[in-house]
Amino acid sequence: MADTAAAGGAGGSGTRSGSKQSTNPADNYYLARRRTLQVVVSSLLTEAGFESAEKASVETLTEMLQSYISEIGRSAKSYCEHTARTQPTLSDIVVTLVEMGFNVDTLPAYAKRSQRMVITAPPVTNQPVTPKALTAGQNRPHPPHIPSHFPEFPDPHTYIKTPTYREPVSDYQVLREKAASQRRDVERALTRFMAKTGETQSLFKDDVSTFPLIAARPFTIPYLTALLPSELEMQQMEETDSSEQDEQTDTENLALHISTDDSGAEKENTSVLQQNPSLSGSRNGEENVIDNPYLRPVKKPKIRRKK
């Protein structure tokens, strides 16, 4: 029964493969493998003493077998890769089987059993020819430092580029012109947008759109915006400072930090010494302690002090 099923399957597939010549090679390969597995399952069933089996159960068993074998393969591959090899060895398989709960010791005996059936090798279907991809140019040979087992270079057209661009503009005048007009456009667009989205004032009663002025809005603390440099300016200042390494401002900055900065503290010391020599004695040793009444801690109220 298993034979018939297998034969029927084979015959069917033969006709199918004949009828569907155009199916892709991977499909073909898959079908062939599947057929072989079916034969194996059928023969195992026969071996177990079954007369016949329903197609659905054969299919199920095939499915189970396939996944079992796939798992062995996958697992073996992991083990072999784990030990930095590319080819699995016997021990990989053994470990895999052990891992999957299979008693390996029973395997030789099972293989040597008397009633086992020999299955013919699946018919060799001619290797599907992969249609040759359009090649353009000569593939590059590997450079010496790349081992030869690595894949070949892809076709040159996939990585060779021939960029097309205009000559960079280096003319000062044009650059300045461009920078200026770009900035102007950005500013104009931005302010127009702001004006469109907010309240505006106008210089002409009849026309509000040509020269829209963003409406004046009073601030709660007007001096802050007026005095503090904007972020842009701060950034700019840092840039120019770092680029110029202005000595004077640097030392000034140092001196301004009353913190633990050494050079700053020294500088303070000297200037204080010049200022009032009377303090010099007391100042030795205590570098950072500045005795200023405003820095002193606030006292707790005394009990007797009446408010």
Partner: protein, 952 residues
């Protein structure tokens, strides 16, 4: 006036002497703007029958007065609240001025008067007769003060400290009485104990040493205890409370700076310079800073930019700046230096009476000038002196004399020295603000004249003597009667000058201090070839108001071919002509270098000069040693030589002014040469720009070549390869920065034959704006951009109007359209990326007003009114208000005038209120003889009420 120092020559107008005062403010409510506290004055009666004590107090509500723990009756009467009684019919300035002067003197502490009159309880009369100490304890409160203390409370979320709410004392002259009862005189010194209880998140800054800070029992508030052991007048007491950030000066730990939250980085930068000013003053005065500590507080809505009080100064927060700002830096430093000078003379050394004020103002102004000379150089100093001299001369010639030392004899109205003024000069409070500014200006100029006479060395010795006497006195106990030496008087000062220098400066004092007015010289000359003599004619005008006759020496400098020679002429009653012998024969063929005043020898192209005369140029009073105006006539080539070769910046400035009248190619060349000379003082070069523009306009029909200054600007500031593009900004060299800023502004004043700004110039300026690139610059370009907008505004000429059509977009001049485009963009960008002090907004507003005035844009004050609202930065407000004031005048709008008057009455910022009035007087909406619909009775009523409202 023959007082001797050291004895009790100074008669106190009060029958008692104050020795110590306690001020305790234990509750400050920012929400209600109120203050509750008490004061305690310790006084010693000096007469036996003292039964009434007069103190100063204004707008304070007084709850209770106790003397030595006994309840005392008191009367409170402030006549300045209603200067002229409502029933009186008279309404004129004279009447008001008299009434006001009377009211002020009725409460003048220097006359022993006061608003608050306390009766000494009869139980104490015996005590008083023994001249024993009295302690007067006064409980008071202050609600919504109109002056004296200024509350700034921003309306945002959060606690008062988070909002940045603060309060500070302010006022004009002696106005401490506005916030606590005291003897509000500069001559009544005493020691102080000051206590302020404030929110725990706030800091109270006041005079003297902070002794301790103590929490209250609920730990939510803390009390600051200050002790001022140096005797100080009540008028020099101040207070600032707010959530300040504290910065101890890294160079001088006794100095502490305070600013409002978030501004600490700016404070660090701004004050990083202060120690140098300290060093300078201490060095020249050879005297240490008199107080043991110094505090600077930077606050918002300041009354004045700088206010100096004993051991602390209150500044406007708008003086703070970052390292990127160029223009503000010298201004701020000047303010710092000014306040510090006043610490020595004004706070530490106080004045005996109002008529001695000039000594203090003079000395502080004079040492401030010395600081300027050292810091900014001799050129800047001389330029400043010239500027101040011009100011005082212009003021006196226009409004009449400024009298430094008013002496009030029998009060005869006939010889009232200030009859030309509509206010009395007897009291500081009755003066006009402008007069007082000029007063200070004249005071320091006169000090300089004294220096010229007795040498700087002696001058500084005198100052040192005053200071050391005062500091010895300050450490003495009250009973020793030494405190009087901390007060300076005119006679004491003069005496110490004659002691130190041995010179008699009485004529000088008589001329400039006891007498008002300036001298006006007219000079012209002729060269007598036969006698080789320069015949100089000097006339004086001493009949017009504000002038006086000058008799005495006058220096004249003559630059001849052989060198520069000084001659001292004696100006006498009737001599007009002066013959000055010349040293050199005219000789033109000898090629020889010409020696200048400073010893330098230069080659000159002498082809321009008169072949017969060896005179190159003549200067009258080159050292400004007379307070004078000189109008001198010399030929154009002489002015040109003077401009080119005289090394004194004042001479250069004078010649630039004179050359305006000589629009010739030679003048043009001389000015252009000066512009190009990098060694030349930048301010001279800047004024040369404007002169050149004027000359170019006068010779428009014969002008050849590109518009004036264009090629020069291109050469200096534009790229070599593409001359229409300006280089990216680099303001490292300040001189060229200032020149770069100014030149376009001057160029925009050029006009072509049709009296329009040449198209070429406008395009040029627009290109400057377009290509302006500040990315690589260390400094901010906000002032530069603002000046570019000013330049655009300068280029605007009146619109050609066809029978008064309404201005609409369609008939907009294409040039104006371009200008408007720029202004719109700049003004809008300011909303997104505001510039420092909003300089650009300010310039934009001014430019818009110019466009309106010239009829390109419909005249409309709505825009300005919105910018003038409270909540905008003060500079913006002032610019906007200026436009509204101008609109009121041009369009004669009653509505706007009302709006302005309303703001004068109700604006929270006193500076703005003052400024509006100031602007209205400078640019009045109508004048006396003009018919105007604005001039009506309701307005008179309103103004009268305003004047009468009692805010001095």
């Amino acid at each position: 006036m023959n007082r001797k120092k050291g004895d009790k020559g100074f008669e106190s107008p009060r029958p008692y002497k104050l020795t110590h005062q306690v001020v305790c403010i234990n509750n400050i409510n920012f929400q209600r703007k109120s203050v509750v506290g008490f004061v305690e004055l310790t006084i010693f009666p000096t007469v036996a029958n003292l039964n009434r004590i007069k103190l100063n107090s204004k707008q304070c509500r007084i709850y209770r007065v106790r003397i030595n723990d006994l309840e005392a009756a008191f009367i409170y009467n402030d006549p300045t609240l209603e200067v002229c009684h409502s029933e009186s019919k008279q309404r004129n300035l004279n009447y008001f001025s008299n009434a006001y002067a009377a009211a002020v003197s009725a409460v003048d502490p220097d006359a022993g008067n006061g608003e608050l009159c306390i009766k000494v309880p009869s139980e104490l009369w015996k005590h008083v007769d023994e001249l024993k100490v009295l302690k007067i304890h006064i409980n008071f409160s202050l609600d919504q003060p109109k002056g004296g203390l200024h509350f700034v409370v921003p309306s945002v979320e959060g606690s008062m400290a988070e909002r940045g709410a603060h309060v500070f004392s302010c006022g004009y002259q002696n106005s401490t009485r506005f916030w606590f009862p005291c003897v509000d005189s500069y001559s009544e010194l005493c020691t102080w104990k000051l206590e302020f209880t404030v929110d725990a998140a706030m800091v109270a800054v006041s005079n003297g040493d902070l002794v301790e800070t103590v929490y209250t029992h609920d730990m939510r508030k803390k009390t600051f205890h200050y002790m001022l052991t140096i005797p100080t007048a009540a008028s020099n007491i101040s207070l600032a409370i707010g959530p300040f950030e504290i910065l101890v000066d890294p160079y001088m730990h006794e100095v502490t700076h305070f600013c409002l939250p978030q501004l600490l980085p700016l404070l660090k930068h701004t004050t990083s310079y202060l120690h140098e000013v300290f060093e300078f003053y201490e060095e020249i005065l050879t005297c240490r800073y008199p107080y043991s500590c110094f505090k600077t507080v930077f606050i918002d809505e300041a009354y004045v930019e700088v206010a100096a009080y004993a051991s602390m100064s209150i500044f406007s927060t708008n003086l703070l700046h970052s390292a990127m700002i160029i223009d503000e830096t010298p201004l701020t430093r000047r303010c710092l230096a000014q306040s510090l000078a006043q610490q020595f003379f004004g706070c530490f050394i106080s004045r005996m009476s109002w008529s001695d004020e000039w000594v203090l103002k003079g000395i502080s102004g004079y040492i401030y000038g010395l600081w300027m000379k050292k810091t900014f150089g001799v050129n800047e100093y001389r330029h400043w002196i010239k500027e101040e001299l011009d100011k005082i001369v212009a003021y006196e010639l226009k409004t009449g004399g400024v009298l430094l030392h008013p002496i009030f004899g029998g009060g005869k109205e006939k010889d009232n020295p200030a009859s030309h003024l509509h206010f009395s000069i007897k009291h500081p409070h009755t003066l006009s603000w402008e007069y007082y500014t000029m007063f200070q200006c004249k005071a320091h100029l006169v000090m300089r004249l004294i220096e010229n006479r007795i040498s700087m060395e002696f001058m500084l010795q005198v100052f040192n003597k005053l200071l050391s006497l005062a500091s010895t006195a300050s450490s003495q106990k009250f009973q020793s009667h030494m405190w009087i030496q901390m007060l300076v008087s005119t006679s004491g000062f003069l005496k110490s000058i004659s002691n130190v220098s041995g010179k008699d400066i009485q004529p000088l004092i008589k001329q400039w201090v006891d007498q008002s007015g300036v001298v006006k010289f007219y000079g012209s000359f002729a060269f007598n070839r036969k006698r080789n003599v320069l015949e100089l004619e000097i006339k004086q005008d001493y009949t017009s108001p504000g002038t006086q006759k000058y008799v005495g020496p006058l220096k004249v400098t003559v630059q001849e071919l052989d060198g520069s020679f000084n001659h001292t002429l004696q100006i006498e009653e009737n001599s007009l002509k002066h013959d000055i012998p010349c040293h050199s024969k005219s000789r033109r063929n000898k090629k020889k270098k010409i020696p200048l005043m400073n010893g330098e020898e230069v080659d000159m192209d002498l082809s321009a000069m008169d072949a017969d005369s060896p005179l190159l140029w003549i200067r009258i009073d080159p050292d400004m040693s007379v307070l004078r105006k000189v109008e001198f006539e010399q030929a154009d080539f002489m002015w040109q030589y003077q401009l080119r070769y005289e090394r004194d910046v004042v001479a250069q400035q004078e010649s630039i002014l004179a050359l305006e009248k000589f629009p010739t190619p030679a003048s043009r060349l001389a000015l252009t040469d000066i512009l190009e000379q990098e060694q030349c003082f930048y301010r001279v070069r800047m004024s040369a720009c404007f002169c050149l523009a004027k000359i170019a306009n006068s010779m428009v029909s014969t002008w050849t070549g590109p518009p004036a200054m264009k090629s020069l600007f291109t050469r200096m500031f534009c790229c070599k390869t593409c001359p229409n593009i300006v280089k990216t900004n680099n303001f490292i060299s300040f001189q060229s920065y200032f020149l770069q800023k100014t030149m376009p502004v001057a160029m925009a004043l050029l006009r072509d034959v049709h009296n329009l700004c040449p198209k070429e110039v406008l395009t040029f300026i627009l290109d400057l704006i377009k290509y302006n690139d500040n990315r690589k610059n260390k400094f901010s370009d906000n002032y530069y951009r603002a000046e570019m907008i000013d330049a655009l505004a300068n280029s605007v000429t009146p619109a050609v109007s066809v029978n008064n059509e309404v201005r609409t977009l369609d008939n907009l001049n294409p040039d104006v359209r371009l200008i408007l485009e720029e202004i719109t963009r700049f003004l809008n960008m300011e909303k997104l990326l505001p510039s420092y002090r909003h300089t650009i907004t300010v310039s934009c507003l001014r430019a818009i007003r110019v466009l309106q005035k010239n009829g390109h844009v419909p005249s409309d004050p709505a825009l300005f009114k919105s910018y003038a609202e409270y909540g905008h930065f003060v500079d913006i407000r002032i610019a906007a208000l200026e436009a509204v004031v101008d609109y009121t005048k041009v369009d004669r709008s009653y509505e706007e005038l009302q709006w302005l008057l309303n703001m004068i009455q109700n604006d929270p910022v006193p500076y703005v209120r003052h400024k509006i009035l100031n602007m209205l007087t400078k640019n009045p909406p109508f004048t006396k003889n003009m018919e105007s619909p604005l001039c009506n009775e309701a307005l008179v009523d309103q103004l009268w009420k305003l004047m009468n409202s009692g805010e001095s």
